[in-house]
């Protein structure tokens, strides 16, 4: 890529299981005003367009960016909404800047999971003709994926539990996380069963929160900050739709999305060149599966990788030092939070969970059930 796009600022709410005092535009305004204050930018003078990221059914409002329009500066201006995971806002925002149409883009993702029932919401993502009436939701679908994956590669319950143990311990270092603590493998394996093999601690908790971020062209970024985080690579990919269409232990779409992002970023050997990964594990086992899809280890070796300690905060390739989604990040906000966390690592601003000197960081988000659509973002230092 000859032209370059930078992340010049971001802000996050503190995440909580329930924030009943604010509605979602107010939640969004908290992070939007903070990121504008932090960067010293004004909507009127600096922001050329904005992209919000949420779903009507989560928000309980048709065309729900109607309620976001005012706080994001959409009045008489350009606003668009991604009905996907937050990572896609970074992808599309960067493309807008590379197109030459825009030079400074405000991104937002918000969700109040507490205001509805995730299983009823997610049931509507299943096709109405062959599957929805059976009552599936993302958790029961994920359980089928987990079981298939563990069976196919002989991944043990202990290996999966190690992801939970690691991420919830990492989360203790992250002041914004709400689910955290020191859990033993036996604590995790004895937490209440939800849908076998998934137990309560294997599942990202219901969370309310929002993230805002600002992207800028290289020229604009230089005016705004001395510490731009460069967007080096981007990739998205759709997978097949029906639960039975693919072997759920495989990850064609993630592999392709990652390959596209790596090629663009000039990454030839992801295992060596990537310093830290913030990926979207809505469920514990997904961290293992996605590390394989991202090429951090061979297919089926996700369990071996976690056993080796490589993905620990002080390991060879730390994964989710922030605590990941298991520490409490809302659906849809997930991917934008991953990009923000990865950016903090690049800038050395991750505080107690900084993994050391980071030159290349990878953030990942996915939409739909069992990873129907993936988005990979490669970030780098100057």
């Amino acid at each position: 890529m000859t032209a370059r796009v930078a992340i010049v600022g971001w802000a996050q709410t503190k995440y909580a299981p329930r924030l009943p005092a604010v509605n979602y535009p107010e939640l969004a305004y908290e992070v939007i005003s903070q990121v504008l204050d932090d960067t010293g930018l004004s909507i009127e003078r600096d922001i050329s367009n904005s992209i919000s990221c949420s779903h009507d059914i989560w928000d309980g409002q048709t065309i729900s960016d109607i309620s976001i329009n005012d706080v994001i500066g959409g009045h008489l201006r350009n606003e668009e909404k991604m009905a996907m995971d937050g990572s896609t806002a970074v992808y599309y925002g960067a493309i807008g800047i590379l197109s030459g149409e825009f030079d400074c883009t405000l991104l937002l993702a918000h969700t109040k999971m507490s205001q509805t029932n995730r299983n009823i919401v997610n049931n509507t993502a299943f096709d109405p003709i062959y599957t929805r009436m059976l009552g599936f939701d993302y958790t029961s679908a994920a359980a089928l994926q987990a079981n298939r994956y563990m069976y196919k590669y002989g991944i043990s319950h202990e290996q999966v539990a190690k992801v939970v143990k690691k991420n919830l311990a990492n989360a203790k270092l992250n002041p914004l996380a709400h689910q955290k603590g020191d859990f033993s493998i036996s604590d995790i394996l004895s937490s209440p069963l939800v849908a076998s093999p998934l137990r309560e601690l294997d599942i990202a908790p219901d969370t309310d929160g929002a993230v805002a971020m600002i992207l800028a062209s290289e020229e604009k970024a230089r005016e705004i900050t001395n510490d731009p985080v460069w967007v080096l690579g981007l990739g998205t990919c759709y997978d097949a739709y029906y639960l039975g269409d693919r072997d759920l232990a495989e990850f064609m779409a993630l592999q392709k999305a990652a390959q596209r992002a790596y090629t663009m970023a000039g990454i030839k050997n992801p295992r060596r060149e990537i310093d830290v990964v913030e990926l979207s594990e809505d469920f514990s086992y997904q961290e293992l599966l996605w590390t394989e899809g991202l090429g951090l280890c061979a297919p089926g070796d996700g369990g071996v990788l976690v056993d080796s300690g490589a993905t620990q905060i002080n390991g060879r390739i730390p994964v989710n030092p922030s605590g990941g989604l298991l520490s409490g990040v809302p659906a849809n906000v997930a991917g934008l939070n991953r990009v923000a966390q990865a950016s903090m690592q690049i800038n050395g601003n991750a505080g107690e969970y900084q993994v050391g000197d980071v030159r290349i960081a990878v953030a990942h988000g996915h939409s739909g059930y069992c990873g129907q659509h993936h988005c990979v973002v490669v970030l780098g230092k100057e």
Partner: protein, 389 residues
């Protein structure tokens, strides 16, 4: 834009109130196969697929994932963008951004709505703030009724004028094989149709349609190598409006209005001083008759208060000097998610002279399309026949 972007192909389904013979995926696939055939391309030549509709209108979450089979999106990049009724045009903007970015050469943009499957009334009422006016919601009809009464009271127009718009749309639709409401009606038929909210009658409003549209965009090199009649995207602009102050219905308002803000920006970009002469055809998003008259004025086709005189004099007829909606427009076909994309595709057909019986007789070098949705939002797109136009 960093690269020129052309429309190199497109297609649409026929639009109808009932499509019991197809499911949503199959209906979308009809438009995609038509677009690929029109562009003489195979799905393997498509780099990115952008799928859009009104989110949750059919009661389904993540519809883009469901559409993967019919769109040929398996293993391909793509995203879903939604902006309400404007979404079809927003998706073409997104496609143009993808091509102009230099990362992709060919993009397939898809938009659809199968309104008969969803609960349009319930979902439309959800547009209102849950705690502010939802119990009175569904009043899109009421909104345009207020616009009509404001227009009449201020400018002295008559109900016959809105009826003329209704007649023009449905008579044009009779020339468009894809249109939904192909009605051989006159002014009296409109005035005798059922009163919904004074002065809006049944025939003053758009129908609920099922249908899909697909448009293929390419960079200049691909377009020139592969396409006999590329149509160039020259400018795009988006303007939204705040959530609660919906001044468009009040024609006397002094506040800045989304439609005027957006058109003045796109005219400035293109150096347009007289839009009625600069553009040869307009395809505008008119959910109700009165909105078409207000669009004439907001787009600067005439002075404020003169819009009804344009329709009275037949100036915006298919064979008039400023043809507006020769396709029959949204008043004849409203598959909401696709409606704004159809405006752009129909404009491109006019430039290519491929519109068949609804081709305008005059030369067409430049067109302007508008979209409408959300709480008075619009997306405008200017197309041209050559890069010198």
């Amino acid at each position: 834009m960093n690269r020129n972007v052309a429309i190199v192909g497109g297609g649409q389904t026929y639009h109808a109130a009932r499509r019991h013979d197809v499911n949503q995926v199959e209906m979308v696939n009809e438009a995609i196969r038509a677009a690929l055939q029109d562009a003489q391309m195979s799905i393997d030549e498509i780099d990115v697929i952008l799928i859009s509709n009104m989110e949750f209108f059919e009661g389904t979450h993540m519809t883009d994932c469901w559409m993967v089979d019919g769109c040929g999106a398996y293993g391909k990049p793509g995203v879903k963008i939604t902006t309400g009724g404007t979404v079809g045009a927003t998706t073409i903007c997104a496609g143009a951004h993808h091509v102009a970015s230099g990362l992709f050469d060919t993009v397939l943009c898809v938009a659809f709505e199968k309104q008969e499957e969803g609960d349009t009334g319930a979902i439309l009422s959800g547009v209102a703030h849950p705690l502010w006016g939802r119990s009175l919601a569904g009043a899109a009809v009421g909104y345009f009724a207020m616009m009509g009464s404001s227009y009449m009271a201020t400018w002295g127009a008559k109900e016959e004028h809105s009826a003329m718009v209704a007649v023009k749309a449905r008579q044009n639709a009779r020339k468009n094989p894809h249109a939904h409401l192909k009605l051989d009606i006159g002014i009296e038929d409109v005035l005798n149709s059922r009163m919904l909210a004074w002065p809006i009658r049944m025939l003053d409003m758009c129908p609920a349609s099922n249908g899909a549209c697909a448009v293929i965009l390419s960079d200049e090199k691909t377009a020139k190598a592969r396409c006999k009649k590329p149509v160039w995207i020259r400018a795009m602009e988006t303007a939204h409006n705040e959530q609660f102050e919906l001044d468009w219905r009040d024609v006397t308002t002094k506040r800045p209005i989304f439609s005027k803000a957006c058109s003045s920006r796109i005219y400035k970009k293109l150096g347009v001083s007289k839009p009625s002469e600069y553009f040869d055809v307009f395809e505008i998003y008119e959910p109700a008759t009165w909105a078409e008259l207000v669009w004439y004025e907001n787009l600067g086709l005439c002075e404020p208060g003169e819009g009804f005189k344009l329709i009275e004099k037949g100036i915006t007829n298919i064979d008039g000097p400023i043809p507006v909606n020769p396709s029959g427009g949204v008043l004849s076909t409203n598959c909401i998610g696709a409606s704004a994309m159809l405006r752009v595709w129909e404009a491109a057909l006019q430039i290519r002279r491929d519109a068949g019986r609804h081709q305008v007789p005059k030369d067409v070098h430049r067109t302007l399309s508008t979209a409408y949705g959300g709480t008075n939002w619009t997306v405008m797109m200017a197309l041209s026949k050559t890069l010198d136009d």
